[in-house]
Amino acid sequence: MKKKQFVMIFTLIVSVLLIIAGCSSGKDAATQDNGNDGAVTAGDNSKSSGEKTLIFGRGADSVQLDPSKVTDGESLYVTNQIYDTLVRYKQDNTEVKPALATDWTTSDDGKVWTFHLRKDVKFHDGTKFDANAVVYNFKRWTQSADFVYYGYMFGANKDNMKGIISNVEATDDYTVKMTLSEPNAPFLQTLAMPAFGIASPTAVKKYGANYFKHPVGTGPFVFDSWVKDDKITLHKNKDYFGQVADVNKVIFRVIPDNGARFMELQAGTINMMEGLDPEDMQKVTKDPNLKIVSRPAMNVAYMSMNTSKKGPMSSQKVRQAINMAINKKKLMSLYQGIGKEAKNPLPPSVWSYNDDVQDYHYNVKKAKKLLAEAGYGNGFTMNLYTMTNPRPYMPQPQLTAEAIQQMLKAVKIKVNVVENDWDTHLVKTENGEDDAALMGWVGDNGDPDNFLYVLLDKDNAKKGSAGNTAFYKNDQVHDLLKKGQVTLNQNERTKIYKQVQQIVHDDAPWVPIAYATQPMAVNKNVMDYVPHSTGSEPFNYIKLK
């Protein structure tokens, strides 16, 4: 008796609820607009309640909202809205402009930087922003070893937690003097990285170990709430010293599956998304409500050839021949529309990119001739190491390796492809086990040194930790790069880096393959959105129609 009644009643309740849901759905499509604070439904560009909300869909949640504790893009993307740095990147290139600092001077020896700070800025919790706040932040960054970017960019280690920044002091309320142990030309570029956002000392002291959940900065948006793995809500900072945001709210939503995220964009429940599958690009162009916005590449994909190995790889002619035997245009088909052929180790978005360099043309006949001149007319055998995981600069590494293998057959070079997962691949290539390897690099601070020195200087050609997987050692390049690190004049540096690119091209330690742009899809009512090549940008310039 009881069982039957239980089942019946339950069925009744569920059916009633389903009927209610079904009946009210007609009304819901309209009322949901009002409830959703301006979130649009497809085909309906209303912002009916007057509140403009940006809803950004991404594939993963932020890890922590304290930029000095993280290296993941999802965290820094959000903190870029909440915090400011002393200087910020310009909107459409990687040069820097004033932000919390209004102007700066350097001493003649390049070791002392003096920053003059803005006087009208308050943190979101009301604390005044001044030189003491900046000094507090710099001290905080060197107290523990978990600020990875600080250690990486400024050379800090266990014995020297401060790295090259040996002293930071406030000479008056709005002036900060930083003394470096050696000149560092990319210094400003590095300080513009979102990782160096300035936090409110009051808030840091108040929240202690839990500060990462209660971020307080000076930025264009103020932190509201964080539901883990679900969404982060920010609202606009009406008293922002820069351009006050047009939108009232920004919500970052976690939608792990690319397909589901795209469907949310189509349904209108989000109006911006990252991580668009290249196959979906067509659907976006066909959809009257959506448009594609591309993030310019600050990356490069390449095949490095291990010049330290005796044999064919150590011969310049062989390497040049290999460059000529590879049809880069064909390799672009593996990029599904997001790749552009590369000829330099630097992408075009980084200043000093040398467009005058003439890339090697695809020419099998000439390649064969060069190989014969080098004594390898009958070809040779080599291995090509590749990773199995897709990378931002190379969506299909295994297929890329196989394509190269096919192309080199034409010049009688037999290629054995060796596959490993990314971490293992790094270990092996940094150890110099390969003859050639597929690699890539995503820039950190938009400075040419961050590409050229890290990837091609002889300082970084040490077995076991080589970022220079070609083990390319050229003294002229080294001297030029070292000079570039201590020259503060941007024009001088540009000349230096252009020269380096030409030498590298001639020596051909690499086959540069591609620069990959990241396509993003947004609703057509999102205007003035300019994605930055460094991977994140503040949203205060975006206008919602």
């Binding site: 069982k3 009210s24 978990d146 589901a260 469907m263 949310e264």
Partner: protein
């Protein structure tokens, strides 16, 4: 009966110890370094060493285990290596989300599955029987993520009937008490939030519940068929008892034991199988969280979550076993 319950609860202790040792050791057998995963590729060797020291990863394994279990018994489940948040806090928001989803999915599965199974058994070989059993086969074979994506495409993008993913619409405000959104909206009298969270849970619960639904339907059908073929049913029929009374009052209760067993085991499946559904529907639950934590070698999170889920599972089994007595008074516990 009380003795039985106490005995079963005491069995929790060896389970607890066994599961914790297993989770602890298996985790560390996976190659990979939590420090590297946390700090990324740009960390220097010195930074990695320093983090490992801080986390106690350099100590011998038995000592690490002792430290960990000592804290657990004091109620401290540790801190996530990745997020620096307390594991208890992280689980506290995510476990209710998964439980809510699993319970609603199970309710759908039981209601629809049992009803379908009963009707199929009562009208054996009818069109309903064939359709529903084929449907059940379909349900078991269909990959959840494909089903989920199709549902989103149909009901959200095309028909605009249901929201695509998540637990609550962006503009809807709900005061959180238990983190069971349906319950919290009832407790705070927030009808708008209740409707909104129900609409959000509908698709993922149906998608997640398809397999249990199918399994329960088939089990109900076969169990009912067995009972319906017994002599006492013939007697009831002969006595002129109404068909639906025979089915619901006599047959179902007798047939229910195997169905109950299946329901109990399906709940376990739901808790674990939620990963895919949680990914497709952006449901901030524990399945997805554990999966990501395994990938990033977040030892404290994985260990503690496995412990909690194991305890939950034991308790569910206990409740299932106790429910047997309700359905079949002949069962004795000793």
């Amino acid at each position: 009966m009380v003795n039985y319950i106490i005995r079963r609860l005491l069995l929790l202790i060896p389970v607890f110890i066994g599961v914790s040792i297993l989770a602890f050791s298996l985790l560390r057998l996976i190659p990979g370094d939590p420090a590297k995963s946390m700090l990324g590729n740009k960390a220097t060797a010195a930074q990695l060493q320093s983090l490992r020291l801080e986390l106690g990863l350099n100590k011998p394994l038995p000592e690490q285990y002792k430290d960990y279990m000592g804290n657990v018994l004091k109620g401290d489940l540790g801190y996530s290596i990745k997020s620096h948040d307390s594991v208890l806090g992280e689980i506290g928001t995510r476990l209710p989300a998964t439980l809510e989803l699993s319970i609603v999915a199970l309710i759908f599965a039981i209601v629809i599955g049992v009803l379908a199974g009963i009707i199929s058994a009562a009208k054996r070989h009818s069109w309903f029987d064939h359709v529903s059993m084929t449907g059940a086969l379909f349900g078991v074979s269909m990959p959840i993520f494909w089903l989920g994506l199709m549902m989103i495409w149909l009901f959200s993008v095309t028909l605009h009937w249901l929201p695509p993913s998540g637990r609550l619409s962006v503009g809807v405000h709900l005061h959180i008490i238990t983190n069971f959104y349906l319950l919290d909206s009832i407790l705070t009298g927030n009808w708008q939030a209740f409707k909104d969270s129900f609409l959000h849970i509908l698709m993922p619960a149906l998608a997640l519940g398809t397999i249990p639904m199918a399994v329960i339907a088939r089990m109900t059908r076969s169990s009912m068929l067995e009972v319906l073929s017994q002599d006492f049913i013939r007697t009831a029929n002969a006595k002129g008892l109404a068909k639906y009374l025979i089915i619901f009052q006599h047959a179902l209760k007798n047939a229910f034991l195997p169905i109950l067993t299946v329901i109990g085991s399906q709940f376990g499946f739901l808790l674990g199988g939620a990963v895919l559904t949680e990914t497709i529907f952006s449901w901030p639950g524990i399945g997805r969280y554990v999966y990501q934590s395994i990938l990033s070698r977040d030892y404290p999170v994985v260990q503690s979550t496995i412990l909690i889920i194991a305890v939950l599972f034991v308790l569910i089994n206990l409740i299932t076993d106790l429910l047997y007595k309700y359905f079949d008074p002949r069962i004795r516990y000793d």
